[in-house]
Symmetry: C2
Subunit: 802 residues, 2 copies
């Protein structure tokens, strides 16, 4: 077991003592204690659930040595380091004689941090230091011991004491001294500038607030999650609109520039008249979907705000899927929190209401579309937004629904497009009484999305330029933490890679966490102290606490794909952008010895017999398996496959692989897809984290819980794993924004940049590169009579590595 911790703040002994006194773990006269007295008192404090004189019995539950329990041991004259470690490990959840031996505890079979002492017989000061280190150490349940004590009631006395300093900072992180039994739930209607549904009125946007009651007297920061999903979704309507992907690839109009450069027109409306008065909110709310990381922070003195944006239930306006209007509706909420915009108590607009409980320090959180809107908001430079934590977020919608001039779906969602997602999230329709009024406008809006996204070409047009947040980065003021799964084929890694790259030149702090998951949250992994990292960060950014978070947190943190529970730090991604390795193509082979490629033309056909084609359209997993099957694949004629020799040493791919091909199509159009596989019969990480223990991760005291999860090795060896992939329209071979003609039979040179990666290959593994055309899981599927030739002598694979 590896209990990694990246959010520990280094403290001097004096600071440790000060902090222990602040949380009332030790009194001011601790130095009068004898070591055995100190041990007893520290142990007793570690059983906060026992509310009277019965606590001594709890000490008998711990073994101090092979002979004595802790209660007996505290009667001795001295305290040994060995006994301390025995207690330390037991309190963290390790089992004597299974995880460690009571005789030699430091030989513990687990990776974790524990204090080192100069003496074998400990002083009272040693014990105090040791206990501070214990409180900030992670238990086998993946939370700090202090957080475990919190879940067992440690802070209840402080919660109920109005004199408790709030926030209460321990080791740089805000502690759970806010009363989660008294959370206030409020709804307000923020008035934006714009009138996106063209009814002559500014859009009103509903925001749901959850905040500690303590914020009535002490303003707190706000964590704002903009979630277009959280007022409901129209799943059936979305399915109905989902596009047929079994359509042919067509010849596009030749164009030297597909972006016209027209600006977005926002519809403005005059402000409403001044209302009668300012009031407290008049509406509450009950059931809602809560991001558990937000819940964790509610207990620690942060408010949480959920808003779904224009066109969602109880909000006005229309869904636009990623354009500046949506961004404006997202930042309107921040402006209200920052006290620079009005909100009303109801859509009747009779009373305004202010966020007087907010300290004007705001962060945004959330994954996928939620994280996307955090990026959108950050690119406006809106005041008050101090930082965002964007998880698995889109930084350009073109890269979500298109690739290199092709319609390429997010993995798992063939036929989805911006209009489909707009319908899915148009929960305003669920207020059918309101919808009766706006129906016609909405249908026009939808048609304009369907038209604008231009599925017929896949071109990068103004429509997509307006949905590319990376072109407004110079305005960013907020510091940005990015989290992304290296196996996220829904929101693909290019989204975070390009964002990360372009943010590096800005005078802001950026951090990046890359995990081995697909499109998931990572706030409940045992091997990573993600909530504590975010706590250190948000305590720094939103409570202005000088805790050195920017220095302490790793710049780039990457989960290893070979070793479980292992996270590496890097200075950047890629670590060595210049270092690459080239492979030339042989017949079925990949050579990395600098040998010249052989002079050979190889070819594959794209078309499948109709029955086979139909089968694969309904069995995407089988298609993927057949495509990736190295020997005797049913798709052997429909791909070219190049296999390297087994690796003789470790190879860490790090960055964006490139495939250069000289290719010809038998028609005046074509598309090329490429997959790079890690090949060989080996045990690999599972594709999803396993639940280690349900409800084991406590977010506070008698409050919410999370299941504890961790990536484990698959019990069985697998044949291969996808490392990365890419797709390209031959008509866009020169540039994304340029459409060139293709002549049948003529060879063209192209460079295809694959999705960026970080992938560790150990000796024995092989690299396999597959060149094919129709990607059943992602591209359109015309099943056209297309044949492709590859000139091996002029093709190569270029891998960034270290």
């Amino acid at each position: 077991m590896k209990l990694n911790q990246f959010a520990r703040q280094p403290r001097t002994v004096a600071q440790e003592i000060q902090e222990l006194q602040t949380i009332k773990f030790i009194p001011s006269n601790w130095s009068k204690w004898q070591p055995n007295q100190a041990l007893e008192k520290l142990l007793i404090k570690s059983f906060p659930e026992v509310i009277a004189d019965c606590v001594f019995e709890k000490l008998t539950n711990l073994a101090a040595t092979t002979k004595q329990n802790a209660a007996q041991y505290c009667q001795n004259d001295s305290v040994s380091a060995t006994a301390f470690y025995n207690l330390y490990f037991q309190l963290l959840g390790f089992q004597p004689e299974q995880d460690f031996s009571l005789a030699e505890p430091q030989k513990i079979k687990a990776s974790l941090t524990y204090p080192q002492f100069e003496h074998t017989i400990l002083t009272t000061a040693d014990l105090i230091h040791g206990w501070y280190q214990l409180l900030i150490a992670r238990t086998t349940n993946g939370q700090t011991f202090l957080d475990e004590l919190t879940a067992r009631g440690y802070f209840q006395a402080l919660v109920e004491d109005p004199q408790t300093p709030r926030p209460l900072i321990f080791n740089g992180k805000a502690q759970a001294v806010f009363d989660t039994r008294k959370l206030i739930h409020e709804v307000v209607y923020v008035e934006s500038d714009q009138d996106s549904d063209h009814d002559g009125q500014r859009d009103l946007l509903k925001a749901e607030i959850i905040r500690p009651a303590e914020s009535n007297s002490l303003p707190v920061p706000a964590l704002y999650t903009a979630s277009p999903y959280n007022q409901g979704t129209n799943d059936r309507l979305g399915s109905q609109l989902t596009h047929n992907v079994n359509v042919p690839l067509t010849v596009k109009k030749t164009q030297s520039q597909t972006v016209a450069g027209n600006p977005v027109q926002l519809t403005q409306a005059p402000a409403r008249p001044d209302p009668q008065s300012n009031q407290a909110p008049q509406e509450s709310f009950g059931a809602s979907f809560n991001y558990r990381l937000n819940d964790y922070f509610l207990a620690r003195g942060f408010a949480v705000v959920y808003a779904a944006g224009i066109g969602t239930k109880d909000s006005q306006g229309l869904r636009t899927c990623g354009d500046p209007e949506e961004t404006r509706s997202t930042t309107a909420i921040i402006e209200w929190l920052d006290q620079k915009r009005r909100a009303f108590t109801s859509p009747q607009v009779q009373h305004t209401t202010t966020a007087s409980w907010c300290n004007q320090h705001i962060a945004m959180t959330g994954r996928s579309y939620l994280g996307t809107l955090a990026i959108a908001a950050a690119t406006t430079g809106v005041s008050g937004l101090k930082t965002i934590i964007s998880e698995a977020a889109i930084s350009s919608w073109y890269d979500y629904y298109r690739e290199h001039g092709l319609v390429v779906a997010p993995g798992g969602f063939p036929g989805e497009d911006s209009d489909v997602l707009a319908v899915e999230t148009y929960s305003q329709q669920q207020n059918y009484g309101q919808y009766l009024k706006v129906k016609k406008t909405w249908h026009q809006q939808l048609q304009s999305l369907t038209h604008g996204q231009e599925r017929s070409t896949g071109n990068y047009t103004d429509f997509w330029e307006h949905r590319n947040y990376r072109h407004q980065l110079e305005q960013v003021q907020a510091d940005i933490i990015m989290v992304h799964g290296l196996n996220d084929w829904n929101v693909k890694p290019k989204q975070v890679y390009k964002l990360w790259q372009r943010l590096q030149s800005l005078p802001i702090t950026t951090k990046l966490i890359l995990h081995q998951g697909p499109h998931i949250y990572i706030n409940n992994f045992r091997s990573l102290d993600f909530p504590e990292m975010m706590n250190l960060w948000l305590t720094y950014k939103l409570y202005d606490c000088d805790n050195q978070a920017a220095q302490i947190l790793p710049t780039v943190l990457i989960q290893d794909n070979v070793q479980t529970e292992t996270w590496h730090q890097q200075d950047s991604w890629p670590q060595n952008p210049q270092q690459t390795k080239s492979y030339t193509f042989q017949h079925h082979g990949l050579q990395d010895d600098g040998q010249v490629s052989i002079s050979e033309i190889e070819q594959f056909q794209d078309q499948l017999p109709p029955a086979k084609f139909q089968f694969y359209t309904h069995n995407l997993k089988q298609w993927e398996k057949d495509l990736s099957q190295v020997k005797a694949s049913p798709l052997e004629k429909n791909r070219l496959l190049y296999q390297s020799q087994p690796l003789k040493q470790d190879l860490i791919l790090d960055g964006r692989p490139e495939v250069r091909l000289r290719v010809a199509s038998n028609q005046n159009l074509g598309l090329i897809s490429v997959r790079l596989l890690d090949y060989g019969h080996y045990q690999r990480l599972g594709s999803l984290p396993q639940t280690l223990k349900t409800q084991a991760y406590d977010l506070g005291y008698h409050y919410q819980t999370e299941d504890l999860k961790e990536y484990q090795l698959n019990p069985q060896a697998t044949e291969y794993q996808l490392i990365t992939l890419g797709h390209l329209n031959l008509q866009n071979r020169q540039e994304l924004t340029r459409v060139d003609p293709v002549e049948a039979g003529k060879f063209y040179d192209l460079s295809l940049l694959l999705q960026p990666t970080h992938y560790h290959l150990t000796p024995g593994h092989k690299l396999v590169l597959i060149v094919y055309a129709t990607d059943f899981a992602m591209t359109i599927r015309g099943n056209q009579n297309l044949n492709y030739q590859i000139d091996l002598a002029h093709s190569q694979l270029i891998l960034p590595y270290y």
Copy 2:
């Protein structure tokens, strides 16, 4: 969508009005309202989250007709049934123009209950009746509309009002008027009679109590969940002790009776001296695993008690896995709740503490081992235990770890046995300071379990007789609700079938729910109102409320395996015990036309080549797939397979299938396994319910949530599904408790009763019976040179059906 409801209490209009007044939904002067006024007032009450005069705006969100929203509609003179239905369906979460048309709402494309009216223009009384029906109807989120309003804050005013009647009953069910923000968490140590760890002291047993603060003045019932897991488990130690199942079947000693009939010896100890005084509990607790059904009841005026029993962390005694000592430790908690036994505030036994908050009405809840202990407790007839809800429970431990004289593992756990489970649940060891004292005694206990379970024979001995709760049923006083998965191959359906059968002669009420799941909870299915059924039941049993629960709840309720969201009621299980259908064996065929079997001997061998054998031991799913593959199976020589003609009409198997075989082994021992499959390329229900919506099922107001789930059809057709199976040791062919010799080559007649089932086969499906020996997933795996012959003329399959 089918929103089935089995917990609706029929009420007269007068009763409905009375109840609506009790929950303050309507005032006493309601009859003065004009219909449009009534509609407006009822609608306004349906938006409890709006706490001031802004509520009217909410009415604009609902469409009353194709032209008017509800706010506008309330200005009309009259109220039509059509408008009522439009509002009714919208409030339940259905979408206009998708699920139903505003013009003709009653053509709604969903199955649910809604009120019928005599008029097309409604009276105020009609509307009141309609709204009562709305409140008890289930929404598309799978809870009643009143429970949805609860989650949105409806009951908060009543929660805070000390005058509110408690419990507050609506439609026979207790409502959420207890304050979940003020739950009390307490720990007590119950003193049992026995001294199972032989230290001269009576065992003290820790119990964790969660109860509404209101119970301080108003005693409430207790839901008690006895969970040996909830103080932690020793997973690694369990794995280490797991038995090797790759061991040969051996010849047993011939015995006419394997049960000796010796009684269990319980070790008693004298009571401790009288303590100083009686006190309130002095210990609380934080983190714990909570069964969400219990949480639901906490909000509704029931206390919840968790206890893990002898040998678990913080409790004394030793784990025994199912014997009377464990049962005694389970009932000790009930006796304390019933105020017939002492508990102490701590293991220091200085103060007793009483359950004065408990109304001495106790139920037990929980699944698997938890439900098992509920059965165990019920069989003692312990006073105070009014009912149990036992889910997926073991009624005889022999049937969990053995079958017909063979070691047969629970599916998924080969090599597990009573000693392994004892170690797994011996969480006392995690208090290593305590464990140091009891280590030796524990090792003796463990050895005695390993010896007593007698894996070498698989015989039914005293050890198992003492762990068969079905032999003490005559003592049962509690009414029993049983829940079981028809695809539960862990705790197999025989456990509930035999219990159900034998309970029928007792003067108690029994109910049975059979679902299509494996070993799962069913408290969050959209298609079944399980929480409300249990609420009706427990309100009746524990609050002595005369709500006709015993008459209203179906006796037997069975989920259909063909139609999604469909539950059938039966009077018993099986419905027609006498009605059976016989199939004779042909070469590869099953005949049901009364034709005589052909005179043929068929044979199969059990042994596999070592590599193949090794492969299957590590790939149980592949083994199962290969065994069940009708054509060209790699295991063709290792089984006999008999396939019926495609069914011409529906066939519902209902009860316990029997296979009669005339069989010979080539050695003086042998085992026979049988699987019955539903065969054919069809869409079937998924093996697990799908999550429809996370956190969607609210258990109270700003409280806990559950994910909403439902069984859906697999997107792809599958080839087969397992219906039932069985295993038998040839030496136990005559009787379970008798061991007969087997002569090599000699034919014996045997009858093998398979696991009971309820299985719906539609026309076109075939039945497939597979006869084989080693079951890689369940039996021991000797890979011996065994060959079996079956005499087809004297073999048949007998199916109970209707």
